[in-house]
Amino acid sequence: MRYLPLTDTDRTAMLDTIGAPSVDALFADIAPAQYLGGPIEGLPLHATEMAVEKHMRALSQQNLAAGDAPFFCGAGAYRHHVPATVDHLIQRGEFLTAYTPYQPEIAQGTLQMLFEFQSQVARLYGCAVANASMYDGSTACWEAIVMAGRQTKRNRVLIDGGLHPHYVGVAQTMAKFTHAEIAYEPPVVEADAGEEALIARIDETTSCVVVQYPDIIGRVPDLARIAEAAHAAGALLIAVNTEPVALGALEAPGNLGADIVVGEGQSIGVGLQFGGPYLGLFAVRDSKLVRQMPGRLCGETVDADGKRGFVLTLSTREQHIRREKATSNICTNSGLCALAFSIHMTLLGEKGLNGLAAENHRLACLAADKLAAVPGIEVVNEVFFNEFTLRLPVESRPLVRALAEKGVLAGVSLGRLFPDADALANGLVVAVTETTNEADIDALCSALTEELA
């Protein structure tokens, strides 16, 4: 087998050193009744690289790749152009096949990158400190809720209707077991992001208010107002961002008063990948909160010769030291995705991110105007970044399926996101990025016109 270097000659020599008659003999602690004497029946045997590649290619070709269709899906995962350089660099063996940098003397590459990554994320979010990444946006959001509970010693979690329903789902799942109390209602599909109603529900038992920015409808809630109200009640504001490109155009949540800012970093560098691996971002506005944070942190220090260097630090928060008293059970980060994000962000820089955001917004505005002209369609949003919601005259979910059969991936239906909320069934969330061109927009408009006729 091409991945196994030992030859039979080696095996014999090694068994001799060990003093064992056979490899099977090394498994003597497994009771004979349970020991498998040979390959498990019914499973295929080893295959050539060519055969495996062919099999996997056949599976991949059963999927409609986003690049092969006019494509408008967003709702928490966005398609952006990732420069070829990013993928080249993350495939450097020294990055790809390195372990967690617990031995800093021979892991400065990963560590310095993480320090740079943390600094980039902190600035993007308008925060003092960001961690070295988490699994994805949805789990980072839950970790923020847990952290807020720890900090405020309260257990009522007020979740805005604009939060991605999967993120809500994760919080609800976890709350069942941790006895946090979740206050949540699905969104109302209208232009108003509903800040008033949300603020009215904040009270003295509220641990945190969780608001997505921009939200699942594509609206941009007024974080500053919500932050003020939350702080007045002694609660924390958790801002959730699922589209970091938006922060090239919109004010950073930390600058608007959010205490914890979390989000999904997939847009920058990572790609769609059918939902994973993605990149959880996690930052706090005030560095005093740092010791309550979950996840890895990389910090600057010096070595024995006085040279600047970086190490994983504050690990007394973490499970491998603190065990059941840890701030989280998390023990990996999304290191390689963080690298991709950091490289892409370095390529962009301030200028590139601003330009990218402007181009996304320009095309989204163009699409909104063209779609608004399709008979029967109403654009719900007054304010949006690169994603907005349409109100259709019919249920959106079967419509999306019908358009997919025509080769147009029209967006994400609210019917799929909120299967239990009949009031949302006609909503369609449409995302537009720099990868969308005018021909794509026209194709969507035509297909919708035809389908609704």
Binding site: A77, E94, Q273, G275, S287, E318, I330
Partner: protein
């Protein structure tokens, strides 16, 4: 040359991307939310970017450079075929919320991998969405909790051996359980009688690692499972060490109810400097109904169906405890793991565990005359060899030996874990090391062991030939500096002074 930070060489004017020339002007729909000030992100041109990250990478050790003998981490060769497959547009460029009919191949990958995991473990079902090992543990414990709650049984305690990974107690605590120790016997295994004595109506379950963190197979696993089941509890197995027994024994045959599988360990999806991982959880028949959403199910007509909130009931899965993450889990890791599994086949996987165990025992027996092997006398180890610091000269520590290994061209082994052995050194070579490579490692270890026993002071300041000498971790924690900020002293008119440059 020292590599400066991007903040020290980049600036707001420079960008390494080209954007389309602005075409016309659309009125902004950002309302009052437009950003007012600069973000402070440095940009680099593409050539500078390539150099920065290429140079940084060269300060890392990696599997591609040499042996990574980290016990319990299973650092094995990462085939590049897997990377190639994961980048096929049909996998890499697919949105998680596309209509199901446009992602049949993606669902097919999930289902095919699930089938392999079930067959290799002899279990009944598998939850694919957990994002990493610890997330998988949480999933397993939540299944146990959901199953107990479903029968109205509010148990409060999870038993965990002292030698367990720190994630085990952290996970149990995160899921709201109290954690209690299980004692070990002198052989380094769970003390079955002591465990039995502790079992009772308050014990929700046990979390056991098998092979355990001493590198030993828990001979009494089946008896432990039977006892826990008899007491109404469930058995969680930490699957971090599954590489040792894959194709040799099926956890399902040992009575295990839930076990996570680290795809990034056993099935070689790359560690990537700390992640992403992937931690599917195989489940017994008793726990399968409670697994999280979404999952895939193969219908009688052979079509693979995606089961989410809306259709869980139709698929007889209304007890699902909910969703652990957005979307479908670590698809990119699934494609790699499936590719790896298909390359090996049932025969290759069995050969892999055999070679992994052979390599570990070869190391154990090549070093046990110069290093203390506390459990070495009782028989073969599994995939990792455990040593302690007994016999070292006064003042010499496991850390010193480990840092000395860096100067010999190797990554250190896992240190001070498991906690049950003083100055523990846990060495896992994996099956993808050659005999010649292991012989080199053994030579280096023997020399270091002699130096540690002799009290060679030079070891105490190792490494001497690494990109950095020992780092001041205490200072890092005392005065955390976790993000870059502009130097306090204003720089001169030209470029900033780059520390160490020139």
């Amino acid at each position: 040359l020292e590599e400066p930070l991007i903040f020290e060489i980049g600036n707001a004017e420079t960008t390494g991307v080209d954007l389309p020339q602005a075409k016309g002007d659309t009125a902004s729909r950002l309302g009052s939310h437009a950003r007012k000030g600069p973000i402070g992100l440095p940009g680099l041109s593409e050539p500078e970017t390539v150099r920065h990250y290429t140079r940084l990478s060269r300060q890392n050790y990696a599997i591609d450079l040499g042996l990574f003998p980290l016990g319990s981490c299973t650092m094995k060769h990462n085939p590049r075929l897997n990377e190639k497959v994961a980048r096929m547009p049909g996998f890499a460029d697919v949105h998680p919320l596309q209509p199901v009919d446009t992602v049949r191949g993606a669902l097919g990958v999930i289902n095919e991998l699930a089938h392999w995991l079930i067959e290799l473990t002899g279990m009944h079902g598998v939850a694919m969405t957990p994002k990493a090992g610890a997330h998988g543990e949480l999933c397993g414990i939540l299944c146990i909790r959901a199953a107990l709650e479903a029968r109205g049984d509010a148990r409060e305690v999870i038993l965990v051996p002292e030698s367990a990974h720190g994630t085990n107690p952290a996970t149990a605590a995160f899921a709201g359980y109290k954690v209690e120790d299980i004692p070990a016997n002198a052989e380094g295994r769970v003390d079955l009688e002591a465990l039995k004595a502790r079992l009772g109506p308050d014990v929700a379950g046990v979390m056991i690692t098998n092979p355990n963190t001493c590198g030993l197979f828990e001979r009494d696993m089946k008896a432990i499972s039977d006892a826990v089941h008899a007491a109404g509890g469930f058995v969680y197995c930490d699957g971090a060490n599954f590489n040792a027994i894959m194709g040799r024994v099926r956890p399902g045959d040992l009575g295990i109810d839930a076990m996570h599988i680290n795809l990034h360990k056993t099935f070689s999806t790359p560690h990537g400097g700390g992640g992403p991982g992937s931690g599917p959880v195989v489940l017994s028949e008793a726990l399968s109904p409670f697994g999280p959403l979404p999952f895939t199910a193969k219908m009688s007509d052979g079509i693979i169906q995606l089961v989410e909130e809306e259709n869980a009931s139709e698929h007889g899965h209304k007890q699902a405890f909910g969703r652990m993450t957005a979307f479908h889990g670590q698809m990119g890791m699934f494609t790699r793991a499936l590719t790896y599994i298909l390359s090996h086949g049932a025969d290759g996987l069995r050969q892999a565990s055999g070679d992994a165990v052979l390599n570990a025992n070869y190391i154990l027996r090549s070093l046990d005359d110069v290093l203390d092997a506390p459990f070495g006398k009782t028989g073969p180890c599994m995939h990792e060899a455990l040593f302690g610091d007994a016999g070292f000269a006064e003042g010499m520590s496991t850390l010193d030996l480990a840092k000395g290994l860096i100067d010999e061209g190797f990554h250190p082994m896992t240190m001070y874990f498991p906690l049950v052995v003083h100055g523990a050194m846990l060495i896992e070579p994996t099956e993808t090391e050659s005999k010649a490579g292991i012989d080199q490692f053994v030579m280096a270890m023997r020399s270091l062991a002699e130096r540690a026993r002799a009290g060679d002071e030079a070891l105490k300041t190792a490494p001497h030939h690494a990109p950095r000498a020992r780092l001041d971790e205490a200072m890092a924690a005392r005065k955390p500096r976790l993000a870059w900020s502009e130097p306090e002293v204003a720089p001169g008119s030209g470029n900033y002074e780059i520390p160490g440059a020139g």
